[in-house]
Amino acid sequence: MTARIGVVTFPGSLDDRDAQRAVRLAGAEPVALWHGDADLQGVDAVVLPGGFSYGDYLRAGAIARFAPAMTSVVEQAGNGLPVLGICNGFQVLCESGLLPGALTRNQSLHFLNRDQTMRITSSSTAWTSDFAADQDVVIPIKNGEGCYVASEAVLDVLERTGRVVARYTGSNPNGSSRDIAGIANEAGNVVGFMPHPEHAVEDLTGPGTDGLAFFTSVLKSLVTA
């Protein structure tokens, strides 16, 4: 049976269609989910896409967190549903308390849009198991508020427990603490990732296909679950 992966569209989401496409290229069936609908339609995993949900009013992700769909996502994530938050989705995951810390304004104040080198530092999450240990990849970033911050104590715990999923290599694009590009929750089913793996799934439209492994990883985790 083909796995069904939901992609939540919020008002102001930009990359929901790209995320659906990445899901399809990975071999799963994308399911469009609507922010105002608490019914997740029995999907096997959920992607929160990039964009500017609710115009990023107040803080990025602050209002999306209260969407009916998010109430269901938070509840089912607690039961092990794999959830990937990309860029704005990462901000939503932090605001909703599924992941620790917060994303703040890039230190340069510039919105950045470029192909970025990074290292996948954990292949033990639901979304990164298809990567080799410490695999170097190139995935586009495009963010204005990608500077990950958390208390030193939280950062220490994330590192000690292997929950830093990826770090920027070369120059740190946004001032993120300890070069963090992505983190996971304790169980490894929820991952927040600032770069855009859905924009690196085809040679024609991206810098390569390094991003595809996020989506094939989750398929594998569903089969073994």
Binding site: F66, C94, A102, T104, Q107, L109
Partner: protein, 82 residues
């Protein structure tokens, strides 16, 4: 119930870098204005709340600030009557 004007000021915590504040601070001397020894930028929220009394209005605003208006990971807030 009477209406109360309440103000919530939300500021980045002192240990969180404020790049927008830094940029504005750096712009002051370049415009020939006095140098600010410190400059932080935050959010100012004005509310009108129906409540039985001042304490009730402040309590409502505090709850709003805790749940939505601020993110406790990066921000502090202050609530006061306007």
């Amino acid at each position: 119930m009477p209406a109360y004007e309440v103000v919530v000021d939300v500021m980045l915590k002192p240990e969180i870098l404020d790049p927008a504040g830094q940029a504005v601070s750096n712009a002051l001397p370049s415009l020939g204005l006095p140098v600010a020894t410190a400059l932080r930028i935050g959010k100012h929220v004005e509310l009108v709340l129906d409540a039985p009394d001042e304490a009730g209005a402040l309590a409502q605003a505090t709850t709003m600030a805790e749940v939505l208006l601020s993110n406790p990971v990066i921000e502090d807030f202050r609530v006061r009557l306007a």
